[in-house]
Amino acid sequence: MSSGTARSAPVAPRTGLDLGRAARRHTWTFGVWVLLAALVVWYTTLIPAFGAFEISSIIRSGLPVAFLAVGQAIIILSGGIDLSLGAMMVLVTVVAGRFMENLGNATGLVIAVAIIIGAMLLDGLIGLVISVSKVPDIVVTLATSFILGGLALVVLPGPGGGIPDVIRFLFTGSAAGIGLNPWPSLIVFVIPLAAMWYVMRRTRTGLRLYAIGSSSERSFLAGLNVRRSKVLSYAFGGAMAALAGLATSAITGGGDPRFSIGNIATLNSVAAAVLGGIALTGGVGSIMGAAAAGFALSLLSPILTSLQVDPNNAQVIQGVLIVLVVMLGGYWQTRRRST
């Protein structure tokens, strides 16, 4: 763990902040944001018209990946990994689609909050099972990905359901799920992100999560309640997966229980977390980097489409890019550590 009290580069400056120093200490996070900005700028030059619709579209379609990447980042930072995060997202979309159909806006909001709390409890339970059973995270969450995927099929056997207008407006900026207004989706993303950033970087809770991620043995010896922190990290991840699920439902206007959607989402979340500078060994990285990497990943496919790349080749390019970035990043980090 490099520094638990360190700050992230793109955040509002404190008095006497040396931006250059912050950039040096968080080169990776900083770099991911620069990469995201560069991709956005590049994208604007590629398409004929760039306006409110494109901005809102970028943010809207990036929300699920970005939320999931932040959730995965919190869990990986705390020394775990959740291969069922995508299945949790799918479960949330079907629960939302089935139980919010034909509901008023107020009831819909209440249910949305209930879903988020429910997902926190459920993922917290997964964390508890990991902690009690001492079975590796990757194995437990592999198993729970089947269980959650099965439950999703129980809730909704096929795509369908409905989402109240207010939820669609909150996550997409319009009751139709597609529109010109980027602000609601931006705000709905920034508030949880800022809250999680505050928890991770400015509170003892966050410091504990980083500590157990660095070494759960030493944290235990230092007197931390490792189990409580572990459960908490998964609960945070579950909340982010719930937000990702609500965002997905808001875009599509319903739920979809297909297993493959969850699988792809999980893989993207891990890839985004790693691209965002989160070390898979735990304890190193910032959720800000993961958030930017999530948006950058979701931006790749429209960019490649506007370059008139065959969508199948686009997948090859995406895979190569992920591997290359991680490869270069690992090389750069080992070099930096040795100097």
Partner: protein, 340 residues
Amino acid sequence: MSIDVSSPTGAGTPRVVPPDEGPARSRLAAVMGDHPLAVLAAVLLALVILTGIVEPRFVSLNGLRNTLLLAAPLGIMAATQTVCMLTGGIDLSVAMSATAAAYVAGVLTPQGAPVAILGGLAVGLLVGLVNGLGVGVFKVNPLIMTLGMSAILVGLLTTFSQTILSGATRVAPFIATLGAGSFFGRTIPYNVVVWAVVALLVILALTRSGFGRTVYAIGDNPIASRLGGIRRWQVLIAVYMLAGLLAAIAGILLAGRSGSVDLQLAQNFLLPSVAAAVIGGTSIFGGYGGYGGTVFGALILGVLDSLLTFIDAGEAVRQVLYGSLVLGLAWLYARLTAAR
């Protein structure tokens, strides 16, 4: 480096029973902990009996044949996970490398079965070589490397299946026989023979060869193995090439079983292959486990699949039960081996 400290199966773990578990652990539990394979055999037996009660016809040569027909490709794929996990890695590209091998074998079918099979195996080796270079030389995390490789293969195969691989719809009769046929009056499938040979070779390689020792060594303690003079990158390249080869064998068998090749050929085997290795007691952190357990894991999953088919479980129930069994067995295993 926290690997040694946090790894529950680290070589340095002293042989002491934790005080809170000592008196509570019964003699039976201790015996079971010392013989994990016996536990797995008991679970398998219980599942077979349960399935037999549900559907008496299952306990017959035909039922056995159907279960083995399914378990063999899974068992071979799980071998890739076993060798990778022993080094502390994982191979999430197995399903796609198996599919790629099946495609190439299908395209080469007009050149005869031997060429087709060799071509398929070559694809597996090539994919494994790239994975091994990434993991061993460039030190990319195996999860990310094989994940990326899987995405790359999906894209390549989707493109190629419309162009140079478009003739891959049918497989050679020999491959079809190998994948789906059986002998001795339709009782023993040929793919089980392939599995038995593969299993024997993998077990011998892991337990009786210098290569096997280095695999366990780099998984158990990377630093000590480096100080001991093991060239980690060479071992990793060899391991991932072996994994690619095994995946290719499984892919060719699957192509033979279904008689044709498509992109979804091996997709449903990825997570079960990891599950089989995990159920079999191979540690995902490396250095502990073996292929013997994985064989039982694959058989357990095969019987479970038959059971779920017999009780006519829907996809939802099937997945929930599947996940619960994997979790339950892994938990049981962790408890039994905790004070090893």
